[in-house]
């Protein structure tokens, strides 16, 4: 029988089958690559630190490998991973005695992110500064709006998937998403990078470049 290549494991079903009955390492590698950004991103939203998100994400995948043969397919693999990630992240938060989600904002306080150790050109540094600013904006949203925005806009999930993950009705999710998008847009327009975003309104985005991304 032909050995499956990484690319041939197109669906989650194939991936699970390969993990359980075939080449475990091949399936595991693809499994992580497929979901690493998703898991990392969710962990980061909870923990607010790259190093903690890294630890949490590793833990999530090791747990997933352990339980994957018993995965009951009552939800999608992504939803299942989301739940594991949230559990692991909350457990880490408890360990840090930082059970309050709102504390997440503190993690994004100026100077806490470990960027200083990596020398970057000025433009890249400015983009990193903006990235931190944007994550702080996200952190300022109410929890439900933030989660919905991250899962819908950043992770590109369907409302059905998000509804399964968060246990919220689709109507409620759409309302949260609308509020989050509106608040973020207004904050971007009126914040320290407002000029950059106002240009998009006056000149359009055809020649948009992050080169002049300055507060």
């Amino acid at each position: 029988m032909a050995r499956p290549s990484a690319l041939s494991l197109a669906s989650d079903e194939e991936l699970i089958a390969e993990f359980c009955h075939g080449d475990r390492e091949l399936a595991a590698a693809q499994f992580v690559r497929r979901y690493q950004r998703f898991v990392y991103s969710i962990a980061y939203r909870y923990l607010g630190r790259y190093e903690d998100a890294q630890d949490a994400a590793q833990e999530v995948f090791l747990k997933a490998f352990e339980h994957l043969p018993r995965f009951e397919r009552r939800s999608s693999l992504r939803t299942w991973l989301y739940r594991i990630t949230v559990r692991v992240a909350l457990s880490m938060l408890r360990q840090r005695k930082r059970a309050q989600w709102l504390r997440w904002e503190e993690a994004f306080a100026d100077g806490e992110e470990p960027h200083a150790s990596t020398p970057t050109p000025e433009q890249l540094h400015e983009r990193e500064e903006f990235e931190r600013y944007f994550h702080r904006l996200l952190a300022s949203l109410p929890e439900k709006q933030r989660e919905t925005f991250v899962l819908r806009y950043i992770e590109g999930l369907s409302y059905e998937e998000i509804s399964q993950m968060l246990g919220t009705s689709i109507g409620g999710l759409k309302a949260n998403y609308f509020l989050a998008v509106r608040k973020l847009a207004r904050a971007l327009l009126n914040g320290p990078y407002g000029e950059y975003f106002r240009q998009a309104l006056s000149r359009g985005n055809d020649s948009a470049s992050a080169d002049n991304l300055q507060p």
Binding site: Y40, V181, A185
Partner: protein, 192 residues
């Protein structure tokens, strides 16, 4: 009726569809219907344009760059940890199973009464003391000899029934001989 089948939308419906419309997440058919409905709500149409412009510009900032960079090495780290876990010697994993089982077994044996090493019941026991009591009015005839055993502490009673009345001398001889008597298994029914 689902939104997909709707031909007109309320203002509230439009608001809920606005982000997906502005950010290009609706099907072409539904986007067309929303665009038509927005003609009746110019303020929402303007907001949709604003959202589209802002979020398109947001995409140029690479606002997820660091997060993506951080997560890009995750697969290597996870797989290394996973492999090292799997490569643990099998005896080591077996030990994790066997040790608690063994401990439990020892605990059960320790608590079990059968664990206390019991000696077999003595087949021969030395008489500790002897007492002869005469029946009233029957001198040196029927009497009772009480044996006290070392181990039991409860003296069994063994009747001594001489066939003939015995003299004082015979009684003394009997008493003198008794400490030498060894009680065999035959006395076991009297044991507690």
């Amino acid at each position: 009726m689902t939104p997909r089948q709707q031909t007109t939308y309320s203002r509230r419906d439009l608001e809920l569809l606005l982000p997906d419309y502005a950010l290009g997440r609706l099907s072409a058919e539904e986007a067309h219907r929303v665009a038509e409905a927005l003609q009746a709500h110019p303020d929402l149409a303007a907001e949709a344009e604003m959202l589209r412009a802002i979020f398109q510009r947001l995409e140029t900032t690479g606002y997820m760059r660091e997060l993506e960079r951080q997560s890009s090495t995750l697969s290597v780290q996870v797989l290394n940890r996973w492999k090292s876990q799997r490569q643990q010697p099998s005896w080591q994993r077996l030990a994790w199973l066997l040790l608690p089982t063994l401990g439990l077994l020892l605990l059960l044996l320790w608590w079990s009464p059968s664990w206390v090493p019991l000696s077999d019941p003595p087949t021969v026991e030395h008489v500790h003391s002897v007492m002869f009591s005469q029946e009233a009015g029957v001198p040196y005839a029927d009497g009772l000899v009480t044996f006290t055993y070392w181990s039991s502490g409860v003296p069994p009673v063994v009747p001594v029934l001489p066939s003939q009345p015995i003299s004082q001398r015979e009684l003394e001889e009997l008493l003198n001989s008794l400490p030498e008597i060894e009680v065999s298994d035959a006395a076991a029914p009297y044991a507690p």
